[in-house]
């Protein structure tokens, strides 16, 4: 925690600040130390899980006994891990596709409707974000249970909880996310291109393909990846609206955690982290590539979108 040395030259160049220099240095040093500590705080848990997944010891809380891929073998051979991993993909991919397509469609459609309908949608979008996840999860479960009971006795069918209910529940939240991202992008878009395209007698469809869509692509990619990741990582909603055959990897991990973390848990968790980080990387690549094609600088586009979507 040493205070960063301010070069003497810089100090001489700004005589007005010389009087306050020691104080400035203390503040800067404290800010820098604080930043380091926060990054340590943020990464320590992730690092612990990853490092201990390579530990050959039998217990997750045991001391470091040596590097080994043993627990990855155990995890990959585990039938439950295989099925829940497959289920995670079966749910996350359709969810991301539906949320991205419907969210983008709605964002485009909302440009064409009156102010009142737009306000209704604003309220609904914010509501799906404001209402705590656990409340949404439980009330959706109550809806499914009550609705399926009624439908089953009325039509002599057997509707139960399964993939469709989980996907439907995940899409609700992700739809709002995509809607917010794409609408923000549409609001910041340069309309003159669209108008120029229309003036040059392009059909609306052609204008969309050549002008609107490329400009929306960053929001589109970010929305898809966020939706996939949310679904892939979600525990709360999935645990309440999934059926016996449709439990996902987070449910498996939660069960393991409740029984006591094992090195296998760490190995599964590390693989899960790998999948989501790979996606983040792919998203970044796509955005950089697209930005370069469009002749713009696209560094850290993904992180900008994610950090700004949160605000």
């Amino acid at each position: 925690m040493t205070a960063p040395a301010i070069p003497a030259v810089a100090r001489l160049r700004r005589p007005a600040r010389r009087r306050g220099d020691p104080w400035e240095r203390v503040v800067n040093g404290w800010l820098r130390a604080h930043a380091w500590l926060v990054y340590l705080f943020l990464y320590l848990p992730i690092a612990v899980v990853i490092v201990f997944s390579f530990n050959s010891a039998r217990a997750a809380t045991a001391d470091w006994e040596g590097f080994s891929l043993h627990w990855y073998g155990v995890a990959l051979d585990d039938d439950v891990v295989q099925t829940t991993l497959l289920n995670s993909f079966i749910i996350a991919i359709p969810n991301a596709i539906l949320a991205t397509v419907f969210g983008t469609m709605a964002a485009l459609g909302l440009q064409r409707v009156g102010r009142r309908l737009r306000t209704v949608f604003d309220v609904l979008t914010y509501m799906s974000v404001i209402v705590p996840e656990i409340v949404i999860a439980l009330s959706t479960l109550v809806l499914f249970a009550t609705g399926f009971d009624a439908l089953n006795s009325a039509f002599k069918i057997k509707l139960t909880l399964g993939y469709p209910t989980v996907i439907a529940a995940h899409v609700l939240f992700n739809l709002s996310l995509v809607l917010l991202l794409v609408r923000a992008r549409l609001a910041g878009m340069d309309r003159t291109f669209v108008e120029a395209s229309a003036d040059l007698f392009a059909t609306p469809w052609r204008t969309f393909v050549q002008i609107t869509f490329p400009q929306l692509l960053p929001a589109f990619v970010a929305g898809f990846l966020l939706s996939f990741t949310f679904s892939f990582d979600d525990y709360v909603i999935t645990t309440f609206v999934s059926g016996p055959g449709s439990s996902t990897l987070p449910l498996f991990i939660f069960g393991q955690v409740k029984r006591g973390v094992t090195p296998e848990t760490n190995a599964v968790a590390t693989m899960m982290l790998g999948v989501t980080l790979l996606l983040l990387f792919v998203g970044q690549l796509v955005l950089t590539w697209q930005a370069r094609r469009a002749g713009r600088r696209g560094a850290s586009a993904m992180s900008e979108i994610v950090s700004q979507s949160a605000s």
Binding site: P45, V48, L143, P250, F254, K258, L277, M302, V306, S307
Partner: protein, 298 residues
């Protein structure tokens, strides 16, 4: 905005086809909201006035008992509120200096530092939470080390509100950092220069320029952090061993273990109402006396 939109040639042709297209574009999202957002909330509101059926679930009635009980036995709610308020303040104390540092003191590596904030936020919440079991636990964890160091009989961190608080702050910290960073980043640096030129001290400048500029970010951040903390379920389950009994745990007990749907419904409706009132009041309080409303919920 609306004048520009009206001038667009495409919108001028409000033909049948145009309207059909609009409907088709909006319909899936509208259906989703209607079926999976509005109807569950409506059902829960209706159920909250009912009574528990004999075998659990809901039986039609119109009573206010559930609300009376939800308010009488409001310990989980009060505890949730305390934890969420403390957690929000904790997040602010950790986030503000960091956001301020990245926005004002870093030049070249800004993108990298922001990316490093996004990565934990992007990775599984469940995994990041259970990792604290290893860090805070006995034996090799912090509790074990403290025990060995102090020679105390038993140091217990997991299963206490402290562990839950660490988990809450850790889990939602990025949601506080991002909005603060975005507002501080947009801050007009010349304001600070002007303030200093006019003879204001560091503290006066910070209090009169930086804090007001950061305020909208803080409001957004605290709402984003406060809401999920109020309904948190996973963190108290894992790090609190279910002993720190928050609103989320109470809801799950009502619905799934006691199978008293009306009771759970009343609790849920109560939570939603309190939250909407709190957030609306908070936004109003922060914006009072301002001519422009520059704080949106998100």
């Amino acid at each position: 905005m609306s004048t520009i939109r009206r001038a667009r040639p495409a919108a001028r042709r409000s033909s049948v086809r145009g309207r059909l297209l609009t409907t088709v574009l909006v319909l899936p999202a509208a259906a989703w909201y209607a079926i999976l957002l509005i109807s569950p909330l409506v059902i829960v509101t209706i159920f909250s006035f009912g009574v528990r059926a004999k075998n659990g679930g809901y039986a039609p009635a119109f009573v206010f008992d559930n609300y009376a009980r939800a308010i009488q036995k409001s310990e989980p709610f009060v505890l949730s509120l305390e934890m969420a308020v403390a957690g929000t303040i904790g997040c602010l104390l950790v986030a503000l200096p960091l956001a301020y540092f990245i926005a004002t003191r870093v030049r070249r590596r800004k993108g990298l530092l922001v990316l490093l904030l996004v990565i934990p936020f992007w990775t599984s919440f469940l995994i990041r939470t259970y990792a604290w079991l290893l860090i805070l636990g006995p034996d090799l964890g912090l509790a074990g080390r403290l025990q060995a160091l102090t020679g105390a009989d038993k140091v217990q961190i997991l299963g206490t509100p402290i562990a839950v608080m660490i988990g809450l702050i850790y889990g939602y910290l990025p949601l506080m950092i991002f909005p603060l960073y975005v507002t501080l980043e947009r801050m007009d640096r010349t304001l600070i220069e002007a303030s200093k030129d006019l003879g204001a001290g560091r503290w006066a400048t910070f209090r009169q320029i930086t804090l007001p500029v950061a305020l909208p970010g803080f409001v957004t951040g605290s709402i984003l952090v406060f809401i999920p903390m109020m309904g948190e379920y996973v963190i108290p389950q894992i790090l609190g061993y279910g002993r720190t009994y928050l609103m989320g745990n109470a809801l799950v007990t009502d619905f799934l273990e006691a199978r008293n749907w009306p009771q759970g419904s009343a609790r849920a409706v109560f939570l939603i109402i309190v939250m909407i009132v709190t957030i609306a009041g908070y936004v109003w309080f922060v914006n009072r006396g301002r001519s422009t409303r520059d704080v949106s919920v998100l």
